[in-house]
């Protein structure tokens, strides 16, 4: 009995005298536990190894450029001068575009599916949108090059330029591969993540909250807006940040659509570059140690940023979903 309860959450009561019952294990138990421990310990060891390898790879560039790497805009492999500002800028802007499009959409879908949709529709729609997350990034890229970009170039971009051309974001020549195209494909790609996590968070809101609001005379819509969404607020925020984490590190589709130019342009029709895309394009044909090291530095920065963003997201979701376990399932 005592051995069995050890497997569940509360810590086992330890008797003062003698080893606890569980310590009296057989030889097989020790071997078995050793194998499992090796498996479990391998994961932190691998992560530590990853951090060390990235840092070692980046050392040359870190020593030469220091933190100025982040603000410099020069990228000249021949002169061995490197600065990552256009990459960081492009990563941020494409992710922000993606969130601006994906957040309203996915929240609309999540709220509809948890609060309003007919029961029979909920699971199938969530399942179908979940399928978007299963499509490989490179397939999004292929589709983006041959289907999305022609559509954007022929109809959407001219429309934006005519309607909103007074803004600096929608001026200039239209090429096709551009910051905006990358943002749109990213939006499609992160939507299923934001949708499924915010749906889990909304499902974790206790029904008593809804009932109390309805009992006070609120309509279903008012109950959702005044009670359910505020209750799940920080979890929804966490879902959005999680989507941001995905968008920041997304590589293939962005590489294929963003145009890959080391430039900072105000216009969203202009080509740009992201951190992940630069690594993907230049790493296998880097011309020297410094070039490789600069790319490793970019990888290290990207890793650090995504770790911070994901940790923040998890903290927020965990705070709402504590106890229900829904948040952890959603991740």
């Amino acid at each position: 009995m005592a051995t069995a309860t050890r497997a569940e959450a509360p810590p086992p009561p330890r008797s003062a005298a003698g080893p606890p019952p569980l310590e009296r294990t057989s030889h097989g138990d020790r071997v078995f536990k050793l194998i499992l421990t090796l498996g479990a310990a391998a994961i932190p060891v691998l992560l530590a190894f990853l951090v060390v390898e990235l840092w070692t790879g980046a050392r040359l560039a870190v020593a030469k450029f220091g933190l100025g790497f982040v603000t410099s805009s020069v990228w000249d492999p021949v002169a061995e001068q490197f600065g990552a500002f256009p990459l960081i800028f492009g990563t941020l802007i494409s992710s922000v575009i993606a969130l601006l499009i994906a957040v309203p959409l996915s929240l609309g879908v999540a709220i509809y599916l948890t609060e309003f949709a007919p029961k029979a529709l909920r699971q199938p729609v969530a399942f179908l949108i979940g399928l978007l997350a299963a499509i490989p990034s490179v397939v999004y890229g292929l589709w983006g090059i041959f289907v999305l970009i022609p559509i954007l170039r022929k109809s959407v971009f001219p429309l934006l330029r005519d309607g909103l051309g007074f803004l600096p974001f929608f001026q200039g020549p239209i090429y096709g591969p551009s910051m905006l195209a990358a943002g749109v494909i990213l939006a499609i790609m992160v939507m299923p993540y934001i949708m499924s996590v915010s749906r889990e968070v909304l499902l974790a809101v206790p029904n008593t909250q809804r009932e109390a609001s309805l009992a006070l005379g609120a309509t279903r819509w008012e109950a959702v807006i005044t009670t359910v969404v505020p209750y799940a607020r920080s979890g929804i925020f966490g879902a959005v940040i999680l989507g941001l984490g995905r968008a920041l590190g997304e590589t293939m589709a962005v590489t294929m659509l963003i145009g890959n130019r080391h430039e900072v342009a105000a216009s969203l029709f202009a080509p740009g570059y992201t951190m992940a895309a630069a690594i993907a394009n230049e790493f296998s044909e880097a011309v020297g140690d410094m070039h490789l090291s600069a790319l490793a530095y970019v990888a290290f920065l990207l890793f650090a940023v995504t770790v911070l963003v994901n940790a923040g997201a998890r903290l927020l979701i965990w705070r709402v979903a504590r106890g229900s376990g829904a948040g952890s399932n959603a991740l």
């Binding site: 790879g57 879908v109 995504t306």
Partner: protein, 268 residues
Amino acid sequence: MVGLMIGAVIVALLPLFFILFDLVVQGAGSLSVAFFTRTPAPAGETGGGVVHAIVGTLLIVGVACVIGLPIGIAAGIYCAEYPTSRLTWTTRFVADVLNGTPSIVVGVFAWAWIVARQKHFSALAGSAALALLMIPMVLRTTEEMIKLVPNSLREAALALGYPRWRTSLAIVVRTTLPGIVTGSLLAVARIAGETAPLLFTALGSQYLSFNLNQPMAALPLTVFTYATGPYEEWHRNAWAAALVLILVVLILSVGARLAIRRRFELDG
């Protein structure tokens, strides 16, 4: 407002149908026996297939499973069976971090770890990168599945005099085996479509190769090279290869998801 939200659902579903529709329309025409049995024709010529990429994906993913599955499953069992241990907390946290790590960063790691030391690209480095991507996913599903096993089952086995390790293996893992298998399939579906970690590890190649210590082609890499290349014929083959890739990925992941859902319904 509800109308707006229904609109959002429709807009959200459109890309899925568009992508699947375009893949079938553009890709199905190029599927032929030659496509599955021949290596690529010289650039610019018609004909040829992607058998080298199909074999490459099978080998690279297969080796990734051999490395990743034992570690992921062992760690998952550990986390579920010793939930109070400090190592469990650390492992879970690190797995979450790894899960959010961009796959391109894992690729850089595999490059620095294996390719830079060996001084040449190899399929093995690609497998290592994919294994590292699949470990956190396998860990999580394994742990979740094992947690569903009622404690009374463990108690029954222990009361009959089974040692702990046999209880874990013969009772707990045995009961959850279908769940662990479907979880592993989900992870395989996810890594089979990964391109970024293979770019500078497996690199890709135009030839049929079985040597894990050499560069090797893979379906996602082929889609990338052909889609960004200059030839019409390449573009057609890119669509066809993408169609094959997505069929494999969707069959694996839809099948696994449906199986997992059925299990949850049975248990709940």
